[in-house]
Amino acid sequence: MPLKLSSGIVVVDRPVRWDHPLDPAMASHDLQWMLRLPPFSGMNPDSFAPNCSLLDILKNDCKLHQFRAGDIVVREGAYGHSAYLILDGTVRAFLEPLWRIKHEDRSTAVDSFLSMLKSRWRRQDNSEDRRASRRATPTDSIPKNPQPPAPVQMVKSDSSGSRVFLQDINAVVDGYESNSLGVGEIFGEMAAITRTPHRYTVIADSECLVMEIRWQGLRLFRRDRQFRDQLDQQYRETSLKTNLREIELFRFLTDESLEQIAAATRLESYGEMEWFADYQINKQRDLQERIETEPLIVSEGDSADDLLLIRNGFARVSCEIGNGHQTMWYLGRGRFFGLDEVAQNYRRPWETPLPYQHSLRALGYVDILRIPKDVLIEFVLPNVRRSELPPVIDSPRYDVGGLVVAEAGKPLIANHELVSLVEFLVDERLINGKRTMMIDLDRCTGCDDCVKACAATHGGTPRFVRNGPQFGPLMFAHACMHCEDPVCMIGCPTGAIGRDSETGVVSINSNTCIGCKTCSESCPYENIVMVQRTDSRGRLAYDRQTQLPILQASKCDLCHGISARPACQNACPHAALVRLDTSNVVSLTPWLGAKG
């Protein structure tokens, strides 16, 4: 039936993938040249679907960048969207931070009016140096090797655009530990694949040509076995050592020891990367059944042969009680499992080694590094201060003979109020949230001022639903949580959904969203909805060919772009609505405390 045109609608062409290539100026001779270069020359064209050929990916998901010596290619701490392949010249990856990292996490702060005023008057010193906070101990207060001054960044604009570069690249190279990367090497791929911040800064060492491959293209390239193997091999050779070096316990290790540990370390993955599908199905099941379906990484009572480091994702620490499992805690990126047992075995070599005291299960998809106990006892633990080791396990639940006591033992968190909250957050996977909308139902009158403010900020359509799972007086509303691991980004074919490099806010670019629903179907929390697209005059858009409505994904963008953000939190007259980091339960205690 033909669509009746009225003043309230507009007929447009349905947007399709690659309407907006990464580099609209990509020339055909560049494409031909790239196809002749490794790794593309060695790729099997049959690995790619006919509608996403190798040439299509190169044309639409790649961009060529020309850098001059000193130009910043990738900055540490910025969220990664793309991998970079060096086509010509060399770049330098700095293994230690060059600058103090600014954290703009205003939403997690529960500031009073007075503290807000104080912070306005106080001088901004941006003293959140990651390195300092990570390594600072009382004895470290006077550094033995003072750090060289932070490199000076310059911005220069010319006909090709503006470039950010370091003033004295040679002094920076001398002052900081770095690795040189040459033609054919790829960097930034881990940040893009795992949707995490870059762990190092990369600077152009000389004049160089670098190809940016956005995540969507990289995912398609990974279908080629040779390319995938190359990435895995490269990770083992370069990134693994960087990862290990970042571990606080390993900071005294020599390069040789680190290499030995890297050689002995095993990379393992548990669960499905697209875990949201199973999660939706399992959500209907009983809690104990759900826990049992989670991939088991380590079972309590098993021999504690390895130390496990969570590289990506979340894992549940639990113990068996009766016929069920009690959640004791959860571990996120960068956390260890099994250190208590390994340290016990190291400190008391005359005793029979203790097995693992808890079970570890993957919550969704987890990447881990398994470091054998022997290398740890040989290279690491002798160099670690006793005070840095976990306390001795005096009354173990398990010994070599099996279960000693049936009770759960001492909980990992002393505060009993938090224990059940942790269990709830883990079960609902809310531990993924960095800006979770929490509503205190003891204060919320249901006035809907938050919803009205959201609608007023977003052209009349609110971007959240003031409803959701409840835990006691806390409601976790259906608003985008700007997750630590935003699984909604995995499947987006156009890169329309992405996170801001600096703030980590996940938002949707309505110009490039083609309304495929992939993100809304993959969000495990039902925080992305499909709405009908409108034009600048508010007219509803319909497809010219099929005459069906044109949809696009809509979600909270934390009022990106307006000064009073987020509007919902600002608008609540009873201070009942807050946006908090639920990935760190302890950070909630001041707010829960204020709640009483």
């Binding site: 809907d448 009205k452 639903v465 600002n570 609540c572 009483g596």
Partner: protein
């Protein structure tokens, strides 16, 4: 990085949560006392100013009038602030708290300016509006503090826009139960009871009295009425009666939530409308005061 170390530090953080709670509540208490002191101080200053104006043979009503007008203008800023959601002017919670304390200052300023007895029809109208505003303001403050807990006590929080749907679902379930009860001899009384007492309960809006002051008395009397039917019911009829009683209770809870949510909005709107009309009356009053003043 280390789980044990981090858990230990998290432990200490968690152990401190009670201290944090105490600290936070102590801070809130200090802030409240400070604000009340400020209100009293402002009242005192206004009193001194009016006395000094009187002593210097001026008209103290003008001094207190200016103060009252200023406070009224400041009070009227809150609804304006609520409209400016994009402006970075501090959170509305802070504005709301300021509005409440300014309301107390306004009460003092009004007492100094007009006292409790006024003459003239416009002044009486003004005074009546003012006292209605004060009453609605205090009532609004009270229900804003108590309503959330009342809603929570009435079961799972339901969105206001979802309430009609929930009510329809409950009404449908009750109707189906009554229909099936009508078909059986041992439970036919349930169908009669439904026809006589429950049709309007499930299908019509609750009374205005309930909307203003919701109580569970109707629900209790209906459930008591259902229990009285026990002697006519067999085992199956009794389980049907239990199910109908559950639906009555659920409907009453939904109605209760609805009434509480509507009451909050109505009182807030009333307060806002009264404030607007008060400001218009104030303008007329100021004009007349200047027009016929001998000062």
């Amino acid at each position: 990085m280390n789980a044990s170390v981090s858990i230990a530090s998290e432990n200490s953080g968690a152990m401190n949560s009670t201290q944090v709670a105490k600290h936070q509540s102590a801070r809130a208490r200090r802030l409240r006392i400070l604000s009340l002191l400020l209100v009293t101080l402002t009242g005192g200053v206004m009193y001194l100013v009016s006395q000094s104006a009187d002593a210097s043979l001026g008209n103290e009503r003008f001094a207190t009038g200016y103060a009252l007008a200023t406070v009224c203008v400041l009070l009227a800023l809150l609804p304006l602030r609520k409209k400016m959601v994009r402006a970075n002017l501090g959170s509305i919670a802070i504005w709301q708290a300021t509005h409440q304390y300014l309301g107390c200052v306004c009460l003092l300023a009004y007492g100094l300016h007009a006292g409790f007895l006024v003459n003239g029809w416009i002044e009486i109208w003004l005074a009546v509006t003012f006292w209605f505003i004060v009453a609605s303001g205090f009532f609004s403050w009270y229900i804003n503090r108590t309503s959330p807990k009342l809603i929570r006590a009435a079961g799972m929080h339901v969105l206001r826009e979802d309430l009609p749907k929930k009510k329809r679902e409950l009404a449908e379930q009750a109707y189906r139960l009554a229909l099936s009860a009508a078909g059986r001899n041992e439970s036919a009384v349930l169908a009669d009871f439904y026809r006589l007492h429950l049709t309007s309960f499930f299908n019509r809006p609750r009374s205005l009295r309930f909307q203003a002051f919701p109580t569970a008395s109707k629900c209790r009397s209906l459930i008591a009425g259902l229990e009285e039917l026990d002697r006519y019911l067999g085992n199956e009829g009794k389980s049907m009666r239990d199910e109908i009683a559950r639906l009555v209770d659920a409907k009453d809870r939904i109605d209760f939530q609805h009434a509480i949510q509507v009451r909050v909005r109505v009182v807030a709107s009333l307060h806002s409308v009264l404030l607007s009309s008060f400001i218009l009356l104030c303008i007329a009053h100021v004009y007349l005061a200047f027009r016929f003043s001998s000062h």
